[in-house]
């Protein structure tokens, strides 16, 4: 039997569907962004030149192509503002991911240790906050953290502080918001790997003389590394580009790249620089994205 007849026509169509999706909704828009990033800003509609116009013939398109330049990318490298934004984004994402891992791992481990019928309940409890709009939950945090908010009232009532503490517009508030929002993305992949681990492996470790602590570090943890990797990347990648949480909860003295991009696009109306920023951000995230893809593929092969 030849391999082409192994799959029926609908199956073959289904196989190319993801590529079609990627092409239409990622690759084509990205090519637009890339083109804009090579253009110059202008007071026009759209606010950049050159503009490809298919109606004006081959010569015009050639001229437009010749007008493209890497000036915007040079600007990104030469101006501290952008480099610092990128560095801050990567740092915030790295620190947040570390905090998420430290908080998420014990929770996922605890969930996996629960009796079967309670695991579903625990999973619900992790997911339920997501039934409320993300923005509403962030505003709720603003409410809690503000000058006369719930947190300060409690701290004052307990006489832990003598005057209200400034929480809002600090990095602490931002990290709190990020960790709070991304925790399920860390817990769920961790839980998935921990829950499917054969309990006999732990018993074997005990049987061979490992103390509970040794059994955890020699068996459970190494075997949960795919989950750790998946959870970390699932959080790290979107946190690098995070805009809403730092904008609402962090101070305005240093910006994450998402905020810088927003400023360029909406306040400065500099589409080409904003596009260049986005293109570089994608380039930065390509490495972790590919790593995540490899992890997922290996998981699939194993199961």
């Amino acid at each position: 039997m030849s391999s082409s007849s192994l799959f029926t026509r609908p199956a073959r169509l289904a196989a190319i569907a993801p590529y079609l999706w990627m092409g239409l909704f990622f690759l084509v828009p990205f090519l637009f962004v890339l083109k804009i990033s090579l253009s110059q800003t202008a007071i026009a509609l759209p606010p950049y030149t050159p503009v490809f116009d298919m109606g004006e013939g081959w010569e015009a398109i050639k001229a437009a192509l010749a007008a493209l330049s890497f000036d915007n990318f040079k600007l990104l490298v030469s101006d501290d503002l952008y480099i610092l934004s990128y560095l801050r984004s990567l740092m915030v994402a790295a620190i947040s991911t570390a905090i998420l891992l430290v908080i998420g791992y014990p929770i996922a481990y605890g969930m996996a240790c629960l009796p079967q019928r309670w695991q579903g309940v625990a999973m619900m409890l992790v997911i339920v906050p997501f039934w409320t709009s993300f923005l509403i939950r962030i505003y709720a945090w603003i409410n809690i953290l503000q000058h006369d908010g719930l947190l300060n009232q409690v701290l004052l009532a307990l006489h832990l502080v003598s005057a209200p503490v400034v929480w809002l517009s600090t990095d602490s508030a931002m990290y709190l918001g990020i960790v709070y929002s991304y925790l399920p993305f860390m817990i769920l992949p961790l839980y998935a790997t921990l829950a499917k681990m054969d309990p006999a492996l732990l018993e074997a470790a005990f049987d061979l003389g490992a103390s509970p602590r040794q059994a955890f570090w020699r068996v459970t943890f190494p075997l949960s590394l795919p989950g750790v990797g998946a959870g970390a990347l699932l959080c790290f990648i979107p946190i690098v580009g995070e805009f809403v949480i730092p904008d609402l909860l962090a101070g305005s003295d240093s910006l994450m790249i998402g905020q810088t991009l927003w400023l360029e696009f909406f306040t400065n109306k500099d589409w080409p620089v904003a596009s260049a920023t986005a293109a570089v951000l994608l380039l930065l995230l390509l490495a972790p994205l590919l790593l995540y893809d490899r992890l997922q593929r290996r998981q699939l092969e194993q199961s």
């Binding site: 074997a204 005990f206 003389g209 490992a210």
Partner: protein, 393 residues
């Protein structure tokens, strides 16, 4: 490799002697109870196992044999009773502090570690110097014939190879007691039979004490020196394979171990055989007429009994044997209803005139079927009173 084995065997011998000198059993299970809710999985069970024994726990699923094994390994804590290993109560000692190792039914190999590191896992936890660990791992690899596969991960091994890694890993620490939970259940028949023999040889050479849990009676019979048959959390009988088969203590065991014909009846005191000098009991069975049996060692206390005879002890012939030989004292006539040719032997079902069905299996000692019988043929099933068992109901 043979040198390694010889060395291991020597070491084993030197270790066995002091234990043999003291008559104290290696393992004493003393009135152990394990409850899960209201269910008594192990019910006041006591058992002694001596050093160097190959002991099998046999029983249907759910009889508590695995729970008992897990208590020996330390994964379950008994609710009552003591587990003495060399005189020390280990019932509440956590598993990682016991000089006992277990081979798991699923093998439970660490998927992230190579064969070598799997075997070394227990040695590292014991704080053995690295050079000694390497030597011991090499010895174990040779012992289970895994040379050349040391660097492989478990998922790159066949089922039989994984089984060997699991065995090597559990033996590496030289446990005083090795527990094997259905160790061969995942292997195919041929490989299982070969591995049974290898396990026995290994146990003898190393002079270790093995306790194996199995639901496969053939496996238990082949390998074990003694078998403990469990049912509903209790040990029904502890005996050698031969005793268990030829002298089961109850009807349940007689039916559980191997095939057997059972005829219910009552002791008939009126009729005593006059054909022989040896004492005989006559049992009036419900549907197979009167059967003469050798007098049991223990006097029967109930009149309602059950005559049991193994199929291979029932012979068939076209006509009743001519001799007055006591071997053919029991002669039951009937019609062959089923014939199953099994290669080495042929199994027959005969419907007796009394209504009962008796099974007979006869070895095919010749290539030509001179002795075979066909369905609806009239035959006499005959057997000796010595081969019959009388079991109380």
């Amino acid at each position: 490799m043979n040198d390694d084995l010889a060395k291991a065997a020597d070491e084993a011998d030197s270790r066995r002697e002091p234990q043999a000198a003291a008559s104290q059993p290696l393992l004493r299970i003393d009135a152990v109870v394990k409850k899960f809710g209201n269910f008594r999985a192990v019910d006041a069970l006591s058992l002694d196992v001596h050093a160097g024994e190959f002991f099998a726990l046999l029983g249907p699923s759910g009889c508590g044999k695995t729970t008992l094994l897990r208590m020996l390994a330390g994964f379950e804590v008994p609710d009552e009773g003591r587990i003495l290993l060399n005189g020390r109560d280990i019932a509440r000692v956590p598993p990682h502090q016991r000089p006992v190792n277990m081979m798991f039914q699923s093998y439970a190999l660490f998927p992230h570690l190579s064969v070598q590191d799997n075997i070394a896992f227990g040695l590292k936890r014991a704080g053995m110097p690295p050079a000694d660990i390497d030597a011991r791992v090499a010895e174990m690899v040779a012992l289970v014939k895994l040379k050349g596969l040391e660097k492989r991960k478990p998922d790159q091994l066949s089922g039989g190879q994984r089984q060997r890694v699991a065995l090597a890993r559990s033996l590496a620490r030289r446990p005083q007691l090795l527990l094997l939970d259905e160790p061969l259940a995942a292997l195919d028949k041929k490989l299982r039979e070969r591995t049974q023999l290898e396990l026995m040889e290994l146990q003898r050479r190393l002079g270790l004490t093995f306790i194996i849990v199995t639901h496969d009676q053939e496996e238990a019979m082949t390998m074990a020196g003694r078998i403990g048959v469990m049912d509903a959390g209790r040990l029904e009988q502890v005996a050698t394979p031969r005793e268990l088969y030829e002298a089961p203590r109850s009807r349940w065991i007689a039916e559980f171990v191997g095939d057997i014909n059972l005829f219910e009846g009552t002791q008939d005191t009126a009729e005593i055989s006059h054909l022989t000098m040896a004492p005989r009991l006559a049992i009036a069975t419900r549907d197979a007429g009167t059967i003469y049996v050798a007098e049991p060692r223990e006097k029967l206390t109930k009149s309602s009994v059950c005559v049991a005879i193994r199929p291979e002890k029932v012979k068939l012939s076209r006509r009743a044997p001519v001799s007055d030989d006591t071997k053919a004292l029991n002669r039951l006539e009937g019609i062959v209803t089923d014939v199953s040719y099994l290669g080495g032997m042929t199994s027959y079902k005969v419907k007796l005139d009394g209504g009962a069905v008796i099974r007979s299996s006869m070895a095919n000692t010749a290539r030509l079927d001179l002795d075979s019988y066909s369905p609806s043929q009239r035959v006499v099933a005959w057997f000796s009173p010595e081969d019959c068992l009388v079991l109380e109901q």
